[in-house]
């Protein structure tokens, strides 16, 4: 048989083995799965195998897979994967078998791990009329895989999800699967440290603001930071050691108490604050869970709500008087500004369920001729 035909048939068997796509070699990029590797260092194993067939090709094989990866902040920061096994393939013109190996690195996201490396096959191809010829192929390969279920300690999934999709798309029947189990070997020390640091920073900031008499905008900004901390705690609440005082996540009593001390400081000396500022600060406390139905200390919450509402009413009445004075003094622009502010307070009082303030604002608007009975 001509050497060119031997090479062609050998390549055909190699392609048949590749079609099996053992390991993650040549598996296409898949979609992110329904679960993700939690933060930490993971070690996984899988048995990968099955068969691929069509009218002109049959390939089968089995292999063992081992991988390890470290996850932090939702990303695979490092990792390796190694697969070793055997496979055989027959075509209408030739057949063969080979030892297969994939060696690669892991990266990507915790819910979609990316493998990149080298896929090698070493074996023999039997060609009728030409005997047996060696097969030694090494090509770049890669693919993706995702967990299907994850807990803090164990993650499971299938390495072959992408490979099967590709095989079926190419018209092959396939039984290939690669169920894996990964176990967390170590917790993410850096993640724990980062979370504790973030917690301490936010708590310190609350206390600093309480000492410095914050602006309304500073308090609003603070709630954004608290949201971010809550999100970080939520992400790690199962798998990362959260600060001892923050076991209840969004309803942390330490935060609630600190935030209420800030609120108390403001309302004890409210002269620097406009009524709109007081409402924004109060709304921020509700957002942070320090005041309102979700607060851990309902008595303290109700006390602050009452004090803020009463003080805001006093300031609202000042606004009303200023507006009435401006109208009397024929200063319509100033009066309009004050009336607009009262309207804003009125709307926010309705929203926040502050019915006494709401009535006071309504009465003020009525007195200013903004609202009249019909």
């Amino acid at each position: 048989m001509a050497p060119a035909k031997v090479r062609m048939l050998r390549s055909l068997v190699a392609v048949a083995l590749l079609t099996l796509s053992l390991g993650v070699g040549h598996a296409p990029a898949g979609a992110a799965g329904p679960a993700a590797f939690p933060p930490g260092i993971w070690a996984g194993t899988a048995v990968y195998g099955g068969s691929v067939s069509s009218t002109t090709l049959y390939a089968t094989g089995t292999s063992g897979v081992e991988f390890g990866l470290e996850v932090a902040n939702g990303k695979v920061v490092s990792g390796t994967i190694e697969q070793n096994g055997t496979a055989s393939a027959t075509t209408t013109a030739a057949g063969g078998s080979a030892a297969i190996r994939f060696l690669g690195s892991l990266s990507g996201a915790a819910n979609l791990v990316v493998a990149k490396g080298t896929f090698t096959m070493k074996g023999m191809v039997t060609i009728p009329g030409a005997g047996t010829v060696p097969l030694d192929v090494s090509i770049p390969g890669g693919g993706t895989f995702s967990p299907s279920r994850a807990t803090c300690r164990v993650v499971v999934g299938d390495l072959a999800t992408g490979a099967r999709a590709a095989q079926q798309a190419a018209g092959f029947s396939t039984t290939v699967d690669g169920d894996f189990v990964a176990v967390r070997k170590e917790g993410p020390v850096t993640e724990e440290t980062r979370l504790v640091d973030q917690y301490v920073q936010v708590l310190t900031r609350i206390l600093d603001l309480a000492a410095d008499r914050p602006s309304a905008q500073q308090v609003v900004d603070l709630t954004v930071d608290i949201d971010e901390l809550n999100a970080a705690i939520k992400a790690g609440i199962q798998c990362v050691g959260v600060p001892p005082a923050f076991q209840k996540g969004l309803a942390d009593p330490v935060f609630g108490k600190a935030f209420r001390s800030l609120l108390q400081r403001v309302i004890d000396e409210p002269s620097d604050y406009a009524p709109e500022d007081l409402l924004r600060i109060l709304a921020s406390a509700i957002r942070a869970g320090a005041v309102g139905a979700a607060a851990d200390d309902q008595a303290a919450s109700q006390k602050l709500l009452t004090e803020y509402e009463a003080t805001t009413i006093q300031k609202l009445n000042n606004l009303r008087n200023a507006a009435l004075g401006a109208i009397k003094a024929k200063e319509p622009a100033f009066a309009a500004d004050e009336i607009q502010r009262i309207w804003s307070i009125y709307v926010q009082a309705q929203q926040l369920g502050l019915s006494t303030l709401e009535k006071a604002a309504f009465d003020a608007l009525e007195k200013l001729g903004e609202i009249k009975e019909v």
């Binding site: 957002r287 509402e309 019915s355 009249k372």
Partner: protein, 144 residues
């Protein structure tokens, strides 16, 4: 209930029935409770904030709130009230959606934070950069 109108021209027809405008003491006693869900917030504007989600029923305990953007809005303020009229949660920001509690995702067992209860309601008001009201929504009921 006390019919009223704004002078000179804007008649807040849909808002007339809002409870709490007709007097009452509120928190310190004598209050008439929260405004009726379904009625509009009263404001000196006719522009509405259209509320898109969650549904009135079956919203889950931790729903995502979504609404349409409003021209000239510099900030949106959202508030969620319980059946007793006390605030469950409040939020302000520039986005047109937010999850109750500010953190998306299902709550783990034992995890704290605000939750929707039967008889809850929510509303959104839009303000311009100077703090003036530019649009308000209805007070929409929501139940888990």
């Amino acid at each position: 209930m006390r019919p009223f109108r704004r002078v000179p021209a804007i008649v807040l027809a849909a808002a007339i029935a809002l409870a709490g405008c007709s007097g009452g003491g509120g928190r310190e006693g004598g209050g008439k409770g929260p405004a009726q869900p379904g009625t509009s917030l009263q404001a000196p504007v006719q522009t509405k904030v259209d509320l898109l989600a969650p549904p009135v029923e079956g919203a889950g305990e931790v729903p995502e709130f979504r609404w349409n953007a409003v021209p000239r809005a510099a900030v949106y303020r959202l508030a969620v009230l319980g059946s007793d009229g006390d605030p469950i949660w409040a939020w302000e920001g520039t986005d047109t959606s937010v999850t109750l509690g500010g953190v998306p995702g299902e709550r783990e067992r034992g995890e704290g934070g605000p939750v929707i209860v039967e008889g809850s309601s929510w509303s959104v008001a839009a303000f311009d950069a100077k703090g003036a009201v530019v649009a308000v929504s209805v007070r929409r009921p929501v139940a888990p």
